[in-house]
Each structure stands twice: as C-alpha cells, then as structure tokens.
C-alpha cells in the first residue's frame, strides 16, 4: 500500500506542560511529514481531526504521540490504517518529572554542556515510532484451505460428556471417543458423589447417568466407544484425525521423534540431516511420517482433551510402611469406593463389617505434604467416604488423620455438615505406622491435635492416594507434530497438561487442544463439569478465531502470522525445535513447514532464526532493528559529558504494563533508557542488541516474565530461551572486549511495578560505572 503519513501529538495529561511541543513537531516536519497537535486528542474533537485527515487527505499511516497503547486502544483504532502509539505520557512525562530533569535555558542550549534529557527522550520515541510505521505493513488474515467446526472430545467421562454437551448446545457437532466399551468413566463407578449445588451439605447420587442419557439423545453428538486416537495431524480448523481400536497397530499410528541419544554416532558426532531422517524412519518402522495426511482421516476444528485420570498405584513397597500391600484391610480410597459401590462397607480380608475405619490423608513420617496427585478433592472424598461408614452402621466410626483438610469455597459447608456426624472424628496428625494388631489394625500417629502420640484401632484403614492424569502415562492426543506426539516438558507439572495454569486455564501447550477435568488437575465432579464448559468455550473460540484468520490466545485477535523467506533458510531447524507450541514441522531436509493456526504469534521463531528470515507484517527484525537505529546516541562531539543510551526491550505481557503502572504512579526512573516493546522475550533477535552496541549505545537489557519452574512467561518458553541467548551474547561481547554485564535480562511480574525504577536505575548506574561504550562515535 502507498503510505501516507501523518503524526498527531496530544498535549493533554501534562505532555504539553513538560515538553517543548514545537521542538517535538520539528521531528516529523524535518522528514516532511505533516504533524498536528491537540490538547485532548482522545476526545471526540481530537479523534475527529485524525478521521478527517483519513477521509480528506487519504492518510493511512499514523503515529500518535500521546498515552500508552494499552489505554484508549478502542479510540485510536482506525480500520485500514497502520497506527503506532508513541507513549509520551506514562513513559516520558509521568515518569520523568521536570523537577528532576529541568528545562535548559536559551543560553545553555548551545553550550555543549547542557541538554534537555526529557525532550531528547520524547524526540527519540517519536522518531522510533515514525520509523516503525515505515517498516511495517497491515496484516492480512491467514485462511486455512479446508475448515471444519467439528469438535473432537477425547474421553467419555463426566468431563468429556459435559464438554460435548456444552459445545453441542452451542451448535457445534461433537464426536466423543471413549476407549472403554461404555461412557461414564470414573464417575460411573461411585456409590455417591459430592453435592453439585447449594447448600453443598450432603451426598447425592451420581449425576453421570443423567449426563450419558442427555449426550446419547443429542443429535449433535456422535459417540465412538472402544476407540482411541491414532494420530491428530494438521492444525486447528483442519485437524486430520485417525481413530482406531485400542491396541490396534496401524500405519497411521503416530511416529515418535528420534531420541536424543540416537542422533549421534559412536564417536559422539551428530549425524547429518539425511541420516537422522533415515534413522527416524527406521525407529518408526511401519508408521507413516507426520507429514503424510490420512486420506480417510476425519476433520476436526479443535480438540477437547478429557482423558481423565487413573488411581495412583504405589511403586513397589512405597506405601508398605502404611500397610498397603501388606495388610489386606489397608486399602486406597479408590479400592474403598469400589467396596462401597458394591454394598455395605466390609473388610476385604474376611468380609466382616468394618465399623471402625481410619482414613489417612498424608504419607506421614514427619512429611507435611499430602500424597502425590492429591488436592482438595482428596480431602472431600475422605469426608464423603467417612459418611459411608456412618450411613452403613449406626455405631460406625470414621477417624480421619490429615495434614491438610482442604475444603475450599462452598465446600466448607460440606465439611461443616460432615463434621456434625457424631461418628466422624478428625485430627491433624502425622501417621507413624500402621500394623496388624489382633483382629484389627493399629494406627499410630504423632503430633496430633489430641496433643500426643496416639494409637487408633480400626477394622480397616483407607489411604487417600491421588489421581494420576492420563497424560502422565501416555501422550493420549498422539499429535503428528515434529516435536513429538504429546505435550512438551509437562513433567514440570507432574504430567498435567497445562501450559500456564493460572493465566490460561484449559490451554495446553498445543493450540487447538483444550484440557478439562482430571487431566488438568485433581478435581471434583462439580468442578469437572464447570471445567468442561471452559474447555468447550475455548475450543469454540479457537474454531471461530481460525475462521477469521486471527490468533486465539494470548494474542487474541492478532491477524499477523510468521512469514518465512524460505530462499534463505539454511535448514538449521532452530525454529522447529524452539517453538513452544510445536507449530512447525520440518520435512526430511529440515525445511520448516509452518502451521499458522497452531501458532500463537509470540515470535520465538523470529528470535531464534540466525538468518533473520522470519517476521510478521507489523513486527519483524527490520522494524525493531530500525527503531533501535533511530535512537539518537550523543557522543563527546555533541556534549562534554554525553548522556548514556541504554536499550530496554520490554515484554508486552507483564513488563510493559508494569512500566505503565510505574508511570501512572509517577515513579521516576532514568531518562537514559529507550524502551521498545516486544511480543515476548523469545522473539528478541540478538541482532538488535548487536546493532545497539555497534551504534554506540552503552548497554541493553531485556525485561520480561519470570522463567524457570515457576515461569510466568505467556508463551511458556520465551523468557527462558531469551536468557540462554543473552548468556551467549555475553560471550560474544567479551570477544569484542566489551564487558558482558552490558547486556542482561530482568524478570518482572506485573505486580512488581514498584521495583522497576530501582531495577532500571541500578542497571544504569552500573553501566555508568563501566563507562561509555568504547565504540561510541565510530
């Protein structure tokens, strides 16, 4: 498109008071770009000024120097126009008070000593905004070749059926695949279940029968029992799914990536690409490559993973000290439920009435934790099963020893009602031993609320073991993705398949695949039903986003997607390997095949690419690189003591809002830093930093989400990958005789805005101590 530029500067919110607006207007004027100012640009009149130019003058490329782009985004939205927002408010005048950065007088202006830091900051940002719009284009939506709205639900338990019903009621066709012969899953194996509605105070009959009937009666739902997923190929909107009978071996079974150790020869040298592909084919003999689409495969738009959980099985003699596997009448909560579902609670050893039952909620041995894979549901189940004992026998006694009694929210009502049962006794305690004693079992516990080491005698003992997600054992989804059939690195979450539990529930690390129920965390039936609704909505959102050619999340509505300049690709595979979402599948030569609807538009591939051939319409190596180059770097030729210039690349997700909040709170920080927002630290290409230092900037830092086990990165791996890349750039700097401290990365959470000024100022102070970049002025 032919760009017709125009710049608008708002003088409201203190901008006009603090800055020399005339001087600022000089920046676009020098380039021959028209500029207009308004004292209230976001007001009706102000916006009208811009709109008028669009219609009358044909302006289509707009730079708005006003507030942060995170506010008034709905007001400064002009269809068909490229718009960039230069943040003169939060990032300039609100965070750099004139009291600290005084205006220079006319005499001082040309003396080679004084300079107006604030004006320089504003002018730099305006220049950066202007060069950015020059380098970017309006995005065009990506359209899939074939498109379907059908939803695949894996798992026919309460989660799967609920999700299917929710999606079906919203008008979507759903297929449920269930590996067992009938629907229902674990929810169909219970005697009673926890309540589903207020007042949450008693047990109810399982709701699953009702749900099954409803699903079977719904014309939008197809049920396939005794069926599993052999592979899911393709991408959201056009997944190609091959189904099969459990245990069957077919050529469309998903191939597995070549294990790391098989990629090297005996001497430790890595095989070349062709050899590796050969080995990969050998390793997956009888299975077709992932890029081979099943011609008979069924098309689905999105997948809901509701594969559920299995009862925890202790390894070897793991729980032998608690009698499990040694004493017949010591059972897990799962086994106890089986007994309860059959009839009255009786002892497995002799079939006699079990009137006194001890429930053990934690592994004891001084360990404060609960058993693995447990949660509040385990506490609730213990309360439920304790009630069975009292329901079955008027003189029944259920004694619960817990480390944590977790009954969050309205479950407290359930706890209260169970507590009222005269035959139910609760104490916190640390179980020491479980042993056969006469005709019964003796349980010893320490540190109880009863104040001492206690012994309880029981007919039966129940251990509150956990719910292991199906994804801990098996990929389940069997994705025909180059990165592998399952979810990556979910060991960090004990096999639960979430990508970012707190920020993006239901979302897995694979776009278009949404998890619900026990596969996500241990949960009650009520929570599962609610969870299923969430996953169903996510699946629908995904399908409808694909249909519009926009990203799903977290950059919902983003119309851009990575564009590859394949002529220059060196088949290094970094993009394929580093993509946190497995969006790229390389072919036998190693050339990446993009799957745009799998992509979340984080730009990690762009940051990874050493050839810099990946970019987005409005965000690419050139656009950011040019912004870096637009930063003015004063040298000793300009001033006696020139100010320092430091580049700050800021993650848009948490760090940029934190920076804005700091501004809103009028927290002041150094004026020597120039910030550029980036989609994710993963998208930072090291060339930007090299460019910055090459043009004489004195340092650079990345500001992004926390990484590591408790990562907060919105794209899972971005900030971690960036930290590795920054480590490497440090080595390169040392080779140039530059201190590696000049480049660093900071972690920040959105609520840590108050720490930002200190963080920034300390870095600046450190750089000042190191002295200016020796390459300055060259």
């Amino acid at each position: 498109m032919d760009k017709k530029y125009s710049v608008y500067i708002c003088t409201g919110c203190g901008i006009g008071d603090a800055l020399d607006i005339k001087g600022l207007c000089g920046v676009p004027e020098e380039e021959g770009v028209p500029v207009k100012t308004h004292s209230f640009l976001c007001g009706k009149e102000g916006v009208e000024v811009i709109k008028k130019d669009i219609t009358d003058e044909g302006v289509n490329t707009i730079v708005i120097g006003a507030c942060s782009r995170r506010v008034n985004y709905d007001i400064f939205k002009f269809d068909g126009c490229i718009v960039d927002r230069v943040n003169l408010r939060e990032q300039v005048v609100w965070s750099h008070p004139r009291s600290k950065y005084p205006v220079v007088t006319e005499e001082q202006k040309e003396d080679g000593i004084h300079f107006d830091s604030l004006q320089m900051l504003a002018e730099d940002y305006l220049k950066m905004g202007m060069v950015k719009v020059e380098k970017i284009d309006l995005p065009e939506p990506y359209q899939v070749e074939t498109f379907t709205r059908k939803i695949l639900v894996i798992g026919g338990g309460v989660a799967g059926i609920s999700a299917a019903l929710d999606a079906a009621k919203a008008g979507y066709e759903v297929t449920i695949v269930e590996k067992e012969a009938s629907l229902g899953g674990y929810a169909a194996k219970l005697r009673k279940q926890l309540p589903m509605a207020n007042p949450y105070d008693g047990l109810i009959s399982p709701i699953i029968e009702e749900k099954i009937k409803e699903a079977e009666a719904n014309s939008n739902i197809t049920v396939k029992t005794k069926t599993v997923v052999a592979r899911i190929a393709g991408q959201p909107g056009e997944f190609v799914v091959t189904l099969k009978k459990p245990g069957e071996k077919i050529e469309f079974d998903v191939p597995f990536p070549l294990p790391e150790e098989m990629k090297f020869d005996e001497s430790g040298k890595e095989f070349d690409v062709e050899k590796q592909f050969e080995l990969y084919q050998e390793y997956n003999k009888g299975k077709l490559d992932i890029l081979q689409l099943d011609p008979n495969g069924e098309k689905f738009g999105a997948v809901i993973l509701a594969a559920g959980w299995r009862p925890y099985t202790p390894e070897g003699d793991e729980l032998g000290y608690l009698g499990l596997g040694k004493i017949t009448d010591v059972v897990t909560n799962h086994q106890f439920e089986e007994i309860a579902a059959k009839g009255k609670i009786v002892r497995p050893s002799d079939g006699k009435e079990a009137k006194s039952v001890v429930f053990i909620q934690g592994p004891g041995k001084g360990d404060d934790s609960d058993f693995d894979f447990t949660g509040s549901v385990t506490s609730l189940v213990a309360l439920k099963q304790a009630k069975y004992v009292c329901d079955d026998y008027p003189d029944g006694m259920a004694q619960i020893i817990y480390q944590h009694m977790r009954t969050p929210g309205l479950w407290e009502n359930f706890y209260k009602s169970i507590q009222q049962e005269e035959g139910i006794f609760l104490t916190k305690g640390d179980v020491v031993s479980v042993a056969q004693s006469g005709g019964g079992i003796a349980v010893e516990a320490d540190n109880t609320l009863l104040g001492e080491k206690i012994q309880l005698n029981a007919d039966m003992v129940v251990l509150a073991t956990g719910m292991v997600p199906a994804t801990a054992d098996d990929p389940v989804v069997n994705l025909a993705y180059r990165q592998g059939p399952g979810f990556r690195e979910i060991d960090l979450f004990d096999g639960y398949c979430d990508s970012n539990f707190i920020c993006f529930p239901y979302e897995t690390q694979r776009t278009g695949i949404y998890a619900a129920g026990g596969v996500r965390r241990s949960m009650t039936i009520e929570e599962t039903v609610e969870d299923a609704a969430g996953a169903a909505l996510k699946a629908i959102q995904c399908i409808e986003s694909v249909n519009r050619g926009v990203s799903v999340h977290p950059r919902s509505g983003d119309m851009t997607f990575p564009d590859f300049f394949f002529q220059r690709c060196t088949q290094c595979k970094r993009c394929t390997e580093e993509c946190p979402f497995g969006a790229l599948d390389d072919d036998e030569k190693g050339t990446p095949k993009p799957n745009p609807t799998r992509c979340r538009r984080c730009g990690t591939c762009m940051g990874a690419c050493p050839e810099r051939i990946i970019g987005f319409a409005d965000y690419n190596v050139d656009s950011i690189g040019s912004m870096v180059k637009a930063i003015g770097v004063p040298s000793e030729d300009d001033y006696e003591e020139p100010p320092f210039r430091i580049l700050g690349l800021v993650c848009e997700n948490d760090a940029l809002p934190a920076l804005d909040i700091a501004g809103m709170n009028r927290l002041a920080y150094s004026s020597q830093v120039r910030f550029i927002p980036v989609r994710c630290l993963g998208s930072v290409n090291v060339i930007w930093i090299k460019d910055a230092l090459a043009q004489g900037m004195d340092g650079a830092f990345l500001l992004g989400c926390k990484h590591g086990d408790d990562y907060q990165c919105h794209f899972v791996k971005g900030s971690e990958l960036a930290s590795i890349r920054m480590e490497k750039i440090g080595d390169a700097l040392e080779a140039l005789a530059l201190e590696k401290e000049r480049v660093t990365q900071f972690d920040i959470a959105i609520d840590e805005y108050d720490k930002l000024p200190e963080m920034i100022d300390n870095f600046v102070k450190m750089i000042v101590e190191l002295g200016p970049n020796p390459f300055k002025g060259f």
Binding site: Q399, L450, K453
Partner: protein, 376 residues
C-alpha cells in the same frame, strides 16, 4: 510425657455432651481462638481448645478428671469469639455436668437429678419422708394452733434435724468419696498432661493452697476477669454470699437452739435475723437476675441442669421469705404451708447437692486449690 495414648472414640459420650448443653461441640475446627481469647486460661497448655477436640472424639477419660474444666468459669468470651459457633463455654459446662455425675454415688441418683422426667419424684421424696417420719415420730402437728405462729409447732425442729443432720452426713460422705477419686484422677491426669511439677498430692500443701485461693473465690476474682459474661459475676456473687449468710445464720440458730435452748421465732431486731433477711433477699434477687441473664442471652445454651438449679435456688429463697412474711402477716396456715414447701426445696438442694450443678461449689474449689498447689 506419657507413651502413646490409645484413642477410643465414644459416640455415646459425645451424645451425652450434646444432651447436657454442648450441642455445638462438633462444629469446632481447632483454630484455638478460644484458648487465645480466654482471659483466665493459663499460658501452659491452655484450655479449652484441647478439651474441645477431646469432647469431639468422645474421650471421656481425658475430660472428667481434667482439672481445667473447673478452672473455666464460663465467661463466654470463647463462645462469642468462636468463628464456628462451637460454643466452647457451653461444651465445658456440659463436661462439668457430666463429671459431677461421674464422681457422684449412687449413679442412678445422679442420673435422676439430671433427668427432667424424674423431677416430680425428686420433689416427692422429701414430702414422703417428712410426712411419714412426722407421722411415725409424731413430730409433725397439722393443727398447731396457738396465738403466735411458731413453725416448730407444726414441723418440729427435732424433726428437721432428725432429717437434715443425717442428710448432712450423707452429703459429706458422698462428696468425700467423689473427691477422693477426683483428686487422685485429677492429679494423675495433670501429671500425664504435664500440667504440674508435683509428683504427689501432699495434704498439708494442698490445704495451704486452699487457704491461699480462698480470697480469690470470696472476691470472685476469676469471674470478674471475664469479658463477655461479666454481668453474671454480680448475680453469682449475690447468690454466693446469700448462701454463706444463710449457712452462718443456720449454724448460729442451731447453736442457739441446742446450747441456749432458745426457740424461734427470733426478734427482727436480732442482728442474726438481719443477716438472715438480707441473705434471703439477696438470694431471691440474685437468682432472678441469673434467670433473667439466661433468658436474655441467646448465645449461651441453657439446659435442664441449669434450670433445675436456678429453680431450686429461687424457690428456696422465695418460699423462705414468704414463710417469714406470711408469719408476720399472721396467715398461719399459709405460713405453715410455705414452710413445708421451703423445707422440700431445702431438702432437694441439699440432698442432691453432690449430683446437681451446685456441686461445682466443691469441685471448682478443690480444682482451684489443686491448680494453686500444682503450680498450674
């Protein structure tokens, strides 16, 4: 600390606590707010948190011999502050009531005293005894006549003492048996729970401790430390001193009668008579205040054991005063009738003292003395 403790939950004990006024015991979730807010709980192993869980689990053995249940004055601060509405104050009251029955012999009598269904029988017992014994001995005269109303002409003082002197011996005997076990158990439990540094109970030391705590009891110091139920202290103090006053009066007149052979009725100018009148009025006002407090306080549970005692005390005071007033008014028959009823109340209060809530006068005193002795 002792070796492991065998926990044997007793559902029936829990049910009994619920019946005796601790209906909210199961609501406790062991946050220990009660122990923190209690103004009179000691710092070392404070009550009533641990008593609450013991009660929930039905651990009778941990409660009946527990000295702390007697250190509690049912201030009510714990019940007011309890986030779960478990009313620890009421639970401890119920436990105390259970403990009284536990240490009283014979058990069936203790049961009867705490059973509203048995109330008519209990009231009938003295009536039968009075009439039968009066008839056999001829010490009761249904038509005393004469100018002056002299109650002993109707119900001979000999008859009174014939009944009440042995009754006193019996009450003392019942208490003695109970206390013997109580002190032993209480000490054992205190040693087991680490509440004392004493290994045995030394009588002299114990009595010295008793003397030391008497001012506290007489001044109701502990009671006035209470927050929530502070107003109860005044009423309790009135009733308490009324009983002391009446006890003194009874003893003086006993001596006057048997040593100086002077029969009543005595002159209203007699200072002993003043004491009697003041005490009688205090008893009536005090018990009415207590009843009023109970009725006004919806947060505190009031069970039969409480109404039984309050009814008796008020009845005792009222009939006593009415007996005197009707005598002064010259209503002979009414006065004699009142006197008879009065004696029925006296009998009930006195004979069933070791079984009713009133036994706290003995158990709490002993427990407080023990706590003082044991450095609790």
């Amino acid at each position: 600390m002792a070796d492991k403790y065998l926990v044997e939950p007793d559902v029936n004990f829990v049910k009994e606590i619920v019946r005796l006024g601790g209906g909210d015991v199961k609501k406790c979730f062991q946050c220990a707010t009660c122990s923190v807010v209690c103004p009179i709980s000691p710092d070392n192993k404070p009550f009533p948190r641990k008593e609450m869980i013991a009660a929930q689990w039905g651990l009778k053995d941990k409660l009946v011999s527990n000295l702390d249940i007697w250190l509690c004055h049912q201030c009510g601060d714990c019940s007011t502050q309890c986030p779960r509405g478990a009313n620890p104050g009421d639970v401890l009251g119920a436990v105390r009531s259970y403990a009284i029955s536990e240490y009283a012999v014979p058990k069936w009598l203790a049961k009867a005293v705490n059973d509203p269904g048995k109330l008519p029988v209990l009231l009938l017992i003295p009536v039968v005894i009075f009439v039968v014994l009066g008839y056999i001995t001829g010490l009761m005269n249904f038509s005393p006549g004469g100018e002056e109303i002299v109650h002993s002409n109707f119900f001979s003082s000999w008859l009174v003492d014939l009944i009440f002197v042995p009754l006193t011996v019996w009450v003392i005997a019942v208490f003695a048996m109970g206390l013997n076990r109580f002190i032993k158990d209480m000490h054992e439990s205190a040693v087991r729970e680490g509440k004392t540094d004493k290994s045995r109970v030394d009588l002299a030391g114990f009595l010295q401790a008793l003397v030391r705590i008497l001012p506290t009891i007489l001044k109701h110091n502990k009671f006035t430390e209470c927050g929530e139920n502070k107003d109860r202290a005044t009423a309790h103090l009135m009733v308490f001193y009324a009983f002391i006053g009446l006890f003194i009066v009874t003893n003086i007149f006993f001596v006057v009668l048997y040593v100086f052979q002077i029969h009543g009725p005595y002159s209203q100018l007699n200072p002993v008579k003043w004491l009697a009148n003041v005490s009688g009025i205090a008893l009536v006002i005090g018990s009415i205040l207590m009843i009023k407090n109970r009725l006004a306080k919806t947060t505190q549970s009031t069970s039969y054991k409480d109404w039984y005692l309050l009814g008796l005390v008020l009845g005792l005071g009222l009939t006593g005063m009415l007996t005197e007033m009707t005598r002064l008014a010259g209503a002979a028959n009414l006065s004699y009738f009142m006197y008879f009823i009065h004696l029925v109340f006296v009998f009930n209060l006195f004979a069933f003292l070791p079984f009713s809530k009133l036994a706290h006068i003995v158990y709490r005193t002993v427990a407080m003395a023990y706590a003082e002795y044991a450095n609790r």
